[in-house]
Amino acid sequence: MPMETHLPICMTALAFDRSLRDRAGDEIVFAILFQPRFLASNSAHEEALRVLDELGVEAIEGIPVRYVSVPVSDERDTERAVFESDADIVYVAPLRAVPLDAITRVTREHDIMTCSGVDAYGRAGLTLTVSARGQRPELVVNYTAMREEGVDFTAQLLAYARVLEFTEGTPEAGAAGRPTP
């Protein structure tokens, strides 16, 4: 799903999180997690910054948003980087050789919401992803992950989105868009 399509959808969906103000406080830190040495990840990061710049979203539900980039290289590094970023929302770019467990352990422990444009990451344990249903984008919410991360989406959004009631596992991220089996 192109960045221009799925990232605005993710940003819009954040407005339906009733726990956002409690989790974020006076400022929302939106972190973009990527692997600089992984081309696809790096490209996604740059494209995300561009799209966010074009969107110009400075506040969500009246709370100012600050965007940060979080480069990671391996599993241990990832866990630490996420924790130190002080992020409230982590957008996960395509990763390679980094298990999603390394991310979700931290996010679930510290009530940090995860989202991604990679369809498989939703089934693997990230809260919000955007997939394609035919020609249309489809919002996918992993309900288990959502509860674990302290996210409280409204019924409107849940009614609108496709809700997953399970998590296939926390595979190590392999090729872009493909969770490790």
Binding site: I9, A13, F16, R136, Q156, Y160
Partner: protein, 465 residues
Amino acid sequence: MRGVRIRAKLTAMTSVLVAAVSLFIFVYFPGEFERRAMDATAEKARTVAEITAFASEPPLMFGDSLSAHDVFAGPAVDEDLAYIVLTDVRGDVFAAHRPEEARRVGYRAGDGVSSDGMVYRVSVQVERSGAALGRLHLGLSLRPQRESAAAARRAVAFVSFVVFALGIAAAYVLASFITRPLADVVEAVEGVAGGDLSRRVTASTRDELGELAASFNRMAARLEATRGELQTANDELGRSNTELEQFAYIASHDLREPLRTIASCIQLLERRYGDTVGDDGKQYIGYASDGAKRMRSLLDSLLEYSRVGSRGAGSAPTDVGAVVVEATLSLATVIEESEATVSHGDDLPTVVADAAQLGQVFLNLLTNALKFRSEAPPEIVIRAVRRGRAWAFSVQDRGIGIESGHLERVFVAFQRLHTHEEYPGVGMGLAICKKIVELHGGEMWVESELGAGSTFSFTIPDRAS
């Protein structure tokens, strides 16, 4: 209303009440039903619109019109739904269900709620955190409400008619139930009024009507007992009266013969020995002769009086005018000598009476009017006026009049207010008149002022009427 029977009044009043209730049901309930149906429709429309608007926030925010149609799929199940139109902040149509119908009824006719009688329109704003996202316009068809209202009107009309019909029937039955004992009492009262004192009412209840029936029965029993006593007394009185009349008749009739002998003997004495008895003897013979004559007059009057009762009154149409003329003619000499005038109208009626006895009444009254005259020539006026179901006749004179204390005495037999020397007579004329009048079912009385004259009046029932 006074002549209308209680049952009819009760039935009428209850019917009016039932009609009013039926009319109220017919008028009030369909309107109330329609109003409530409209309220329910409005509430439903508002609720559906708000829910749909709420669910439409994500599609509007995500710019996903297809999802909006998914949102519309829920309320679209309702066949009463006329249309849904979701517009964005610019007012452009974002998504619509049955857009043609929406355009046809004019979904932008107004914000809030409105109705054209066919469709109930609701327009609500779709907003997120105070920011307007668009507007949802929803229309609900009022056809089901109109149809159900029409069905309700028919049902209520039927119910009203049934209530009215049953109410009228119940009113009639109730009125009959209430008034039947009353009708029994009325029937019994009419029977008693008609003379059947043996009539009684069966008191089947213990309410006021039962008490009335019991009281009536007690009254009727007392009346019957009293009538029996009266009948016995009356029979006794009648028997006594008959015996008295027979005695008077026999006595007066039988005494006339020895009296005639005495009178004849006195005449013989006067004729044969009148010249030898001297002046004192002649005077005594004169006294005896006058006494015999007066006694004969008394016996004749008494006999006539008793005959009135024993003969009874005949009953044939009698021209009172002719009777009066005949009585006047028989007194023509006295009238002429006294220069009296007797006048009466031409409108004296014809009554059912005994002509001879009626003539006797007028003759006696005219005789009295001529006898008890003042210095001036007597002026006698005879009149007849209608008095209820009878004719009232009066004979008015301008004679000496009667003292008010003696008005009743004049009708008593042998009662005289003057000496025989002042006004000759035996005092039976008015008694005979009164007896004749009463025998005809009438009554007699006198109005008089001393020195101004008297008016004797009597009534004769008009049996022809």
